[in-house]
Amino acid sequence: MGAKPDLVAPAKAGATALERETPATPPPSGDPGLRRGDEYTPDSLIASDIDAYLLQHQHKSLLRFITCGSVDDGKSTLIGRLLYDSRAIFADQLSALEADSKRVGTQGQNIDFALLVDGLAAEREQGITIDVAYRFFATEKRKFIVADTPGHEQYTRNMVTGASTADAAVILIDARKGVLPQTRRHSFLVKLLRLRHVVLAVNKMDLVEYDQSVFDTIVADYRAFASAIGIERFTAIPISGFAGDNVASASTEMPWYDGPTLIEHLETIDVEADAAQARPFRLPVQWVNRPDLDFRGFSGLIASGSVRPGDAVRILPSGRTTTVARIVTMDGDLPEAVAGQSVTLTLADEVDCSRGDVIALADAPPQVADQFRATLVWMSETPLLPGRSYWLKLGTQTVGATVQEPRHAIDVNTLAELSVKTLGLNDIGVAEVYTDRDIVFEPFADGADLGGFILIDRATNATVAAGMLDFALRRAQNVHWQAIDITNAAHADQKGQTPRLLWFTGLSGSGKSTIANLVEKKLFALGRHSFLLDGDNVRHGLNKDLGFTDADRVENIRRIGEVAKLMTDAGLIVLTAFISPFRAERDMVRAMLPGAFVEIFVDTPLAEAEARDVKGLYAKARAGQIANFTGISSPYEAPEHPDIRVDTTRESPEAAAERIVEHIMGVWSHDL
């Protein structure tokens, strides 16, 4: 084994310690060589020439990988082994580990490596890891960050999270069990996230007497499946995480295997950040650095390509072109910067450029669009609500976005396409995504930095989904706004008014329609052109196909918002009276009509509205005759900062209407 690169720390001595002195007697009942005192004979270079060692370490590259496998595949044991063999564990941790192994371990008196990587106390009790944990170790050639991701079915979310930052995936298979449904699931996710390298680690070879035919059969099985899902290349390695075979040092038990050890292989594969240098230059602008009037720099992490002063660049989405003046750092200007570096650029011309814009190679810019087909991984216990507006964050851009009803979901075990109406926790589906303004993007296949996004719930701020943009929809690129000669402004001027949308929201029976009616009468008397859209009336026509589920309520409001927008385009003052219980939808309409939306909260306490019960609906709802009734069996999210609030227990409808008209006229006088 002299020619083979060993791990830095345990090096030759460590490897020797891990060799078993007696021929295989699986399963090993004795200590497989992990006695205190045997381990951790450090790299001789550390002791003899620390400066040389540091120089060597300083030039190491970094590889991030994930391990996928179930609790039983020995995944935690393998990671524990990697840490142990590379001397990332210290003696005090080792003694804690030994004590824990005896107390809660599953390996009898042996060290239970799995305990090294199980973190949170609650999880330890259950004996499974349920989150993504990151571990660190280094060899002579590389530093490694391992994302330890669980194999349990319900934790697709965690594996996708861990895989998103990885260059490679190590898929573990228990040699006794072969390719399982979960192996397919992990491989599918690895393919979905477009990891560059797949390693098939056939583990627990010690438990199948290091039998080559077992290994060969598993590899053949896996190859058939892998090629079916588009994984063209993978590297299969027979290992034992428990005994250490082919992990850091070549196994003496498997002379039939002449390939690299797991570590050797991971030391040689290329990393994504380096590969990204071959693609065209893209810098998503994170922050504009403007310490004084003389300096204006654009900071960000280079997503792909490289850049030099003098390069012609284009700012997206505006399309303006200029050239790079300087690459500024605290250590002096750089002659060149590459993908993976955080830089600050200055540009030759004073062009508009701010956070969310992308500085790109002038001749090969990324695309701009607002409608996409995307693959989504749902990560929240609250299911997708098609049509609801979420925040979408992609690169440094954050925009409003809606997801349409999924075209299909994908069963990760069978890869079958399922017909679904929504996506729940850990579901994967394909759907159309519409953003409320153009975003700069690339298909995910061309890079994660401008192709991968997250969706954020506007109410809870939770990250509810990860998504990958497949492509922009053709219609988004080809359906342009029809130029119309009579502009919106011309319509408004003709009527001598500023179009508004007066949005009345409140519980059923709160008095929305009553007050809205009074307001419209007053506007009419003042010679204003207005129109009142009433909730009940709209449901008799335009929205008669909609019910009262959450999804239908969202669609109801979206349509009303669109109709109101057309009416304000025509110059009208629109009044609407809808319960509109969800903040997210009201915010969506506000975003559709920037500046024109006036939120009027008709604030009547539930008890008061129920006591009035003008339509007798509360009594029916209480009797269980109406499902999803706001205030009773469905929530009402009160506005946090309404433009106008009407407390109907203190103010008469007439007085409220008067005040609303005055407020609007006041706003007009500013406008005029």
Partner: protein, 299 residues
């Protein structure tokens, strides 16, 4: 093709995180403990916003019991960075005279955990940068880079957000706050290597020198000033010592060492067999104590 080294990639990631917070937060602050991790984090902040100054203040949650050498560097580092330095001492702890000799674990709870909450609330800070690393302790391996705290500053492991690609969701409701750890993916060796490569000034206590010490409960403690209460018969002895972590001096264990240069310190670190946190009395209580402390708002 240029292959970036692991230190270049770690630096780029940390700078990206620092900038992302400044772009999205209303009022960020950097927790500055004067230790080596803080020194690296501060250095990265200066790089991230060069030629400007980092657009946030430094906050030191003081216990009055830090090493004197830490107080000296604290002032100098803030001036060098051109940043405002906020020092917070919990007034309750001052009034009650909380100290590590009489009050045991309450010392940390009241000065640090409570003091930190007070300082963040008083300053109206919505994001606080911390220098914690995932390799420090088992429970931290799963900590997110953006770690969410409820309005009562509590950490709920179930309510943390997944972090994909380079995307961080920094949205939060009023009253909620975020702790952000730009050094999450650094190891202790990376920190030392970076300090060496970038010539970052650190507290001299990290290098070995003869210092007055007593041995207590298997820990070597430095007698840094005359507030140190000697037991009957205890006499400070000069030993060549250094520290792997720095905190309140009566609670921080030293190691005997002859390493007077950074490379020698790194050499010793790689050859020793105890982990960094072993010198901290705080972690010894119970196996999952860090996790409990974290849930309560300690870093």
């Amino acid at each position: 093709m240029t292959t970036l080294t692991h230190l270049q990639r770690l630096e780029a990631e940390s700078i990206h995180i620092l900038r992302e917070v400044v772009a999205e937060a209303e009022r960020p602050v950097m927790l500055y403990s004067v230790g080596k991790d803080s020194a690296v984090m501060l250095h990265l902040a200066r790089k991230a916003f060069f030629p400007g100054k980092p657009p946030f203040p430094l906050l030191h949650v003081d216990t009055t019991w830090k090493f004197r050498a830490m107080y000296e560097l604290r002032e100098r580092a803030a001036v060098a960075a051109g940043m405002e330095l906020i020092v917070h001492q919990n007034p309750d702890a001052v009034a009650q005279g909380i100290n590590p000799f009489d009050h045991g674990s309450r010392h940390t709870d009241i000065w640090k955990t409570e003091g930190l909450k007070q300082a963040l609330t008083a300053g109206g800070f919505d994001v606080a940068f911390g220098g914690a690393r995932r390799d420090e302790e088992k429970s931290r391996a799963k900590e997110r880079i953006f770690s969410f705290r409820s309005a009562s500053q509590r950490w709920d492991p179930k309510a943390q957000r997944p972090e994909l690609w380079h995307l961080y969701n920094a949205k939060k409701a009023k009253g909620e706050s975020i702790r952000v750890f730009p050094l999450s993916n650094w190891t202790e060796l990376d920190i030392w290597q970076y300090i060496l490569a970038e010539q970052i000034e650190i507290v001299p206590l990290y290098l070995a020198a003869p210092r007055p010490t007593v041995e207590r409960d298997g820990m070597l403690l430095m007698v840094d000033d005359d507030r140190f209460r000697l037991e009957p018969g205890e006499v400070p002895v000069d030993r060549s010592i250094r520290f792997r972590t720095l905190g309140c001096y009566p609670l921080t264990g030293a190691v005997e060492s002859q390493a007077t240069t950074l490379p020698e310190v790194i050499q010793e670190m790689l050859l020793t067999t105890t982990s960094e946190r072993q010198g901290r009395a705080i972690d010894h209580d119970q196996s999952a104590s860090m996790e409990k402390k974290k849930a309560e708002g300690y870093f």
